[in-house]
């Protein structure tokens, strides 16, 4: 049976050192979000995840969702767990109190989401989709729509979905066919088929609100002709109860590699009543605004799965007794040494630890900047934070989902043959983690977003939000003897990132395929430097705390050692990546299609 314990200590450390103790409560509107309150909330949330959601993870995987005559049933226990989750107010943790939310910073929700994803990613999909719908509606919906639907989403009696994909239209949303025709009143009639709709149909809530991309009759071709509509499963009565059944139904559910307890539905819209969200033909804009939050959330999914897989690998490596240390017996009282004595097992575990803790810090920083971008009093600070988030979003999404999958895979390896057995519980993490690299824009698309859209925007203005602070911190760290061992290699890696950036910008301007060919390697290179930056910051903070006699010395020393491991063993990948980037597009594009 797998284990899970929410990494509260590490979250506290990140909040304290990366975000800054009082940074959140300093933002206008978040005055109440004091460190104490946040700690209390996270502690409670951790308990819920460990005790309620986690025990349903393996059984949910085994049972999966079932479909019968348009009705979808979630696995045993999900309904009760969902009710508890909703009644605890967890869905609306960061939602507006005007609609019944708790009004806490988004970052707090982001940190909690990690626990939820570690404990039970399939479960997390349902409230996660509701939050996505909440964000879209609260940004773009009319006051009437907001008043009618948001409180229900926040209290969790109704849930939400995002209906984008169609059978022939995935990454390229410009070619969707779902149609919306204006009705006599202020509503529209929506007709079309959507696939891969997470939480499209289920038995957790009394109503489901679909946010649907569709074309109006006079829509221009391509992405400039897509509008966003709200289509409820049941049209609400004036008293707020679900009324008449709308023309939307689940045709079937998919049988998937992972997240089996999350229903993935084919949704058929047949003359369904819906309401326009935002302006006509501006649906993509609404999607894009939400995407920063949604992509960060998917990155968190990767990290969360990596964390739980890593915890299980560590537990197993400490208890599994096989052979002896290469340097002779380490545990003479035991029949064999635990496998954690072996350098290669160490390599696996350290890799997981360094990636996951670095990712947590990075996710927290980006999540915090999302709050700054929304709430800071100074327009310029808000704009700069928004630019940082825009730049880092594709990196966080792709890097952290790749890392999540890698670490889950590592955990299986550490378990040896037992890892391959379903009952052990770690192979589920590999299967569950796989989708995060694909949905919300495949990681290949994230890399294109980085080099194609983010890099060149306003002559590299977004890049400044990363390069300048990192450069400044590096310059300071290079002068600090205690940090020089980390700062030196990171400065070199940063130099490679600068050179690669200049090279891709230059080559990509003349030939977009050059940028495309470098994209994935470049994103990883960028991500490694970003993690290196986080490790430099964490090491600096840990040293300072140790010097001041604050905190748990064992925890802080482990931080320093993990920072050293990351710098010595993982960061050097930038050199290989740099070389592959330099090699350009030709090796990829040279071969004729027929030769494949």
């Amino acid at each position: 049976m797998p284990i899970y314990k929410a990494p509260l200590d590490d979250v506290r450390f990140v909040l304290d050192t990366i975000v800054g103790k009082d940074s959140l409560s300093a933002l206008p509107g978040y005055e109440d979000a004091t460190p104490d309150l946040i700690d209390q909330v996270l502690t409670e949330g951790a308990k819920l995840c460990e005790e309620v959601l986690f025990p349903l993870n393996q059984s949910g995987d085994a049972e999966g969702c079932t479909y019968e005559n348009g009705v979808v049933r979630t696995p045993k226990g999900f309904k009760e767990a969902y009710t508890q989750y909703a009644e605890g107010g967890w869905i609306g943790l960061s939602c507006d109190p005007a609609y019944g939310g708790q009004g806490l910073p988004k970052l707090v929700n982001t940190l909690l989401e990690e626990f939820v994803c570690s404990a039970n990613l399939s479960f997390g999909m349902y409230p996660g989709l509701s939050l996505g719908a909440y964000n879209a509606l609260s940004l773009y919906g009319s006051d009437a729509l907001k008043a009618r639907f948001l409180p229900k989403l926040v209290e969790g009696t109704w849930s939400g979905t995002m209906c984008l994909t169609e059978p022939h239209s995935g990454t390229d949303l410009g070619i969707i066919r779902t149609k919306a025709v204006p009705a006599d009143d202020d509503s529209y009639r929506i007709t079309g088929t959507k696939i891969f709709i997470s939480a499209g149909e289920h038995d957790l809530t009394e109503n489901i609100l679909h946010l649907v991309l569709a074309r109006l009759p006079d829509a221009p071709a391509g992405t400039k002709g897509i509008s966003l509509f709200l289509v409820p499963k049941f049209i609400p009565n004036d008293d707020g109860t679900p009324g008449k059944r709308n023309g939307v139904a689940c045709g079937s559910i998919e049988h998937k590699m992972g997240i089996k307890a999350s229903s993935t539905c084919v949704m058929n819209f047949d003359d369904a009543t819906g309401w326009l969200v935002g302006e006509p033909h501006k649906g993509m804009r609404a999607m894009f605004v939400m995407m920063n939050a949604a992509r960060l959330a998917v990155g968190i999914q990767g990290m969360g799965l990596g964390e739980v897989a890593y915890q299980n690998a560590v537990a197993y490596a400490k208890e599994r007794l096989q052979g002896r240390s290469l340097k002779g017996t380490k545990f003479p009282d035991k029949p064999a040494d635990p496998i954690i004595v072996h350098p290669d097992v160490r390599r696996n575990l350290m890799t997981g630890k360094a990636y996951i803790e670095g990712s947590r810090a990075l996710a927290a920083l980006v999540g915090y900047q999302l709050d700054v971008a929304e709430k800071h009093a100074d327009t310029r600070v808000r704009q700069e934070a928004d630019e940082f988030v825009q730049l880092m979003t594709p990196i966080v999404k792709a890097l952290m989902t790749d890392i999540g999958f890698e670490v889950a895979n590592i955990a299986v390896q550490v378990h040896g043959g037992h890892g391959f057995i379903w009952e052990t519980g770690v192979e589920q993490y590999v299967r569950d983690a796989r989708i995060a690299q694909i949905y919300e824009g495949t990681n290949g698309i994230q890399a294109l977003d980085l080099v194609g859209r983010k890099m060149g925007q306003d002559m590299g203005r977004l890049l400044r939000r990363f390069f300048h602070p990192v450069q400044a911190e590096l310059t300071a760290a290079l002068d600090d003897d205690s940090l020089a061992e980390l700062a030196g290699p990171l400065a070199k890696a940063f130099g490679k990132l600068q050179q690669a950036t200049a090279l891709i910008a230059q080559k990509g301007m003349k030939d977009p395929e050059e940028a495309g060919a470098a994209a994935t390697d470049y994103l990883r290179l960028f991500g490694l430097v970003a993690l290196g930056w986080m490790w430099l910051r964490m090491a600096k903070a840990a040293s300072a705390k140790l010097a001041a006699g604050e905190g748990d010395p064992a925890f802080l020393n482990a931080k320093l050692k993990t920072a050293a491991f990351f710098t010595a063993k993982l960061l050097p990948q930038v050199n290989t990546l740099f070389l592959t980037i330099m090699a350009g597009a030709k090796p990829l594009m040279d071969m004729e299609v027929d030769a494949f």
């Binding site: 306003d458 002559m459 590299g460 203005r461 890049l463 400044r464 390069f467 300048h468 450069q471 600068q498 050179q499 950036t501 200049a502 910008a505």
Partner: protein
């Protein structure tokens, strides 16, 4: 020929209205003393108040009519009663009074009586045929008379339409054409004596056809300008924007005069009509920019500044839009695709293009002997990038004929005759045009005109890269042409200079000299800021430092190269584009060259030797008292306020040009003049001596600091100005230099580099660069 040797030593202009006074100012710009006469002022003690007032006004208005304020002294204002005797001393009299035949006839009699025998008289009329003007005048007058039609404003518009009668002395016409070309810098186009000559005949038709199409097809003002401007190679003001500039109320007058004189069957008659919406605009005072606005206006209600456009259907103003018509997006640069596009925008483009171009094509040979004259007229007189026949070639003559048929416009005879052949072709490296007889004839350039575009047609570059080309311009002279976007300077341009130096070597082989020239609107507006911004954004400082060092080293190498370097700029030469001029042995500048070290505007200082060279110039200037402080004060002022000279003449005052640098009035003659100078210098060339500098040191810096502090207190300098000035002052005073110890230029160049590298990291500078890139305007932070 003797006539070529005859000269215009003095001139006179009669009529001190906008055109007359502008023409007088331009004579002064050419260094020709000029008498400006108008009628006796009725309500003034000063009987010459009208002409005097015109000169006064011209000294204040922008864009300036004078290239240098001192030129005003060359204008002698007077009145037609007391001062008509002054005409006895002038060689050319230009009449520019109102378009009234009787008044002109009377004036000509008085001029004829007062002028010296053999002097030339010309009229600036745009509507009265020459044969009517000379009716009843003396035989001598008829022989000495012609029409010289300038365009407004006379200093800036390059077209001069020249019309003669069979009576006109050939040598008089040649003399005037030559003076207009060489001294006034005009593109002289010979026209026949027909209404509106070339440019206005076609231009008026074009505007009318476009307005008709917009009103009748329901195309908005902004859409019409978005389609009828840039996509057709016409200034972005388009049609309605141009009307606002010219004045809406002028249209009915022009229409009337055209209708009075045009042939019975002229296509303009069918096109000419009044639109109630325009009549109402004029009646309401919306006569254009000179009035309350025109088709566009700026609504300042409630303290805002909202650009509005008139709705052609309702006549009401509404916020202006920035449409991107489908036809323009789909066609890109393909003019044929634009004209054939199946959309409202395409239909609009089709009617305007087909009607206008067919009209123009139908007028040759009635209005001019060649298609080249018509094209030149529209290019120089209406600032079209291409003339009507060049535009037809872009569509293709066969496709154009087809378009004519599709909209029911008769296919012009010349287009029929072309039978699918283009109007222009390049044969044996020479540009040829179809003659009226349907034969290709080589396009002849006036004597002494050397165009880089002709050289480019006839040869391949000696060498080129992504941002520059090297051309053989004959007689052992190599020419560097910038080809980068906006002629922005980058590493490739530095590489081109390096390559040129390698090719020319010691200047004693195949190559003798280097000319730096291009035919773009602007010589260069400086370093590639976008590229720099990207590098700054990723903090790749060594790349910036390398850019600065390479620029300094390259410019220095050109300065001390064993062969002469002559720069021949026109239009804007800013920042690094100015610094290359400062390092050239000689600058042959087009009169309309706008030079400036504008780095401060983006929070930087000149880093490619600009500070160093300016300091040397100032120290060597005999007009400036000796000593380090007097020498650096004007340099500090010029650079710290990013002064841009508004003409080549002004650039000499600011030391951007030396007294010895040449000025060419006619842009088409610039390259030839530069090449001649380069060859002259190549005889026994020795590179310049390296100057040594006496620098003011910390004491001088303290004085400048106080000066800047004062400006800060007065609010004339912004906080970041003070930061930039601090660095500039340190460079110009030589850092910790001791004024008793002269130093070499290396010391100053190092200070330039250090200051540049410090400033480029300043957030205030980064904000300025970014603001310039996104808005095109300097940030005052």
């Amino acid at each position: 020929m003797d006539s070529k040797r005859a000269e215009i030593k003095r001139a006179a202009v009669i009529g001190a209205g906008v055109m007359g006074s502008g023409i007088a100012a331009h004579f002064a710009n050419a260094g020709i003393p000029v008498v400006l006469l108008d009628i006796v002022a009725k309500n003034s003690d000063d009987r010459s108040a009208i002409a005097k007032g015109a000169v006064e006004r011209m000294l204040k208005t922008e864009p300036a009519a004078f290239m240098h304020k001192r030129n005003a002294k060359l204008v002698t204002p007077g009145n037609l009663e007391d001062d008509i005797g002054l005409l006895a001393d002038v060689d050319w009299i230009v009449e520019a009074i109102i378009e009234d035949k009787a008044l002109k006839a009377d004036l000509y009699k008085r001029i004829d009586a007062a002028r010296k025998p053999g002097s030339v008289v010309s009229s600036n009329t745009s509507t009265i045929p020459l044969h009517m003007l000379t009716e009843g005048q003396s035989d001598a007058f008829r022989r000495d008379f012609l029409i010289t039609h300038f365009f407004n404003p006379p200093r800036y518009m390059r077209l001069l339409e020249l019309v003669t009668s069979p009576d006109t002395r050939t040598d008089a016409a040649e003399l005037i054409a030559d003076v207009c070309d060489r001294r006034l810098g005009k593109g002289v186009v010979r026209c026949k004596d027909t209404p509106g000559f070339i440019a206005n005949r076609i231009g008026v038709f074009w505007i009318q056809a476009a307005i008709n199409a917009a009103v009748e097809q329901g195309i908005s003002v902004e859409e019409a300008d978005a389609i009828g401007g840039r996509p057709m190679g016409i200034p972005k003001t388009g049609i309605f924007g141009l009307m606002d500039l010219v004045g809406l109320d002028l249209m009915p007058h022009i229409a009337r005069s055209m209708l009075a004189t045009l042939p019975e069957n002229d296509a303009y008659r069918a096109e000419s009509r009044e639109h109630p919406v325009i009549a109402k605009l004029i009646a309401d005072g919306y006569t254009g920019r000179k009035g309350k606005g025109g088709f566009y206006r700026v609504n300042k209600a409630g303290g805002g500044r909202v650009k509005e456009a008139v709705d052609l259907k309702t006549g009401a103003f509404r916020p202006a839009e920035r449409p991107k018509p489908d036809a323009v997006a789909a066609a890109g640069k393909d003019l044929r695709a634009l004209a054939e596009h199946d959309s409202p925008g395409g239909r609009f483009a089709r009617s305007v293009l087909v009607k206008t171009l067919a009209y123009a094509a139908s007028l040759v040979p009635d209005i001019a002997d060649s298609i080249t004259a018509v094209d030149e007229g529209m290019r120089l007189g209406y600032n079209w990038r291409q003339g009507p026949f060049e535009l037809i070639d872009r569509i293709g003559t066969a496709a154009f004929a087809e378009l004519c048929r599709s909209v029911g416009v008769p296919v012009p005879a010349l287009v029929e005759q072309a039978a699918g052949r283009p109007f222009y072709r390049v044969e044996g490296g020479k540009l040829q045009a179809l003659s009226v007889a349907g034969e290709y004839e080589t396009v002849a350039r006036p004597d002494g005109v050397l165009l880089l575009s002709d050289i480019k047609r006839a040869s391949k570059p000696v060498w080129k890269n992504g941002s520059a080309s090297l051309w053989d311009i004959g007689d052992g002279v190599l020419c560097v042409e910038f080809t980068s976007k906006m002629n922005a300077l980058d590493g490739d341009i530095m590489a081109a200079y390096q390559k040129a130096m390698k090719l020319i070597g010691d200047g004693k082989g195949a190559w003798k000299a280097l000319v730096i020239h291009n035919e773009a609107d602007n010589f260069s507006v400086g370093a590639n800021l976008g590229l720099a911004m990207f590098v700054i954004n990723i903090g790749l400082w060594p790349a910036i430092e390398e850019m600065v060092e390479t620029g300094q080293a390259t410019y220095r190498a050109l300065k001390y190269a064993p062969f002469p370097v002559v720069a021949a700029p026109s239009g804007m030469a800013l920042g690094g584009g100015c610094e290359i001029l400062l390092h050239s042995d000689h600058v042959q500048a087009h009169a309309e060259t706008y030079i400036g070290l504008v780095e401060v505007g983006v929070g930087l200082i000149p880093g490619w030797g600009g500070c160093t060279e300016m300091l040397a110039r100032s120290a060597a200037n005999p007009k400036i008292p000796r000593g380090p402080m007097p020498a650096l004060a004007p340099v500090f002022e010029t650079i710290s306020t990013a002064k841009v000279a508004k003409s080549a003449a002004e650039a000499k005052d600011l030391l951007y040009l030396r007294a010895s640098d040449g000025i060419t009035m006619n842009r088409d003659r610039l390259l030839a003049d530069a090449k001649a100078k380069a060859l002259e210098l190549a005889e026994n060339y020795t590179p310049p001596e390296k100057p040594s500098y006496v620098l003011a040191g910390p004491g001088g810096k303290a004085a400048l600091d106080m000066f800047v502090h004062g400006f800060r207190l007065q609010g004339k300098a912004t906080p970041h100005d003070a930061v930039v000035c601090d660095h500039l002052a340190r460079v110009l005073t030589g850092g910790d230099a001791d004024f008793t110890q002269p130093v070499g230029e290396e010391h100053l160049l190092e200070l330039e580099r250090d200051a540049f590298m410090a400033l480029v990291r300043e957030p205030g500078t980064i904000d300025r660069i970014e603001h310039m890139l996104t808005t095109g305007k300097p940030l005052r932070n």
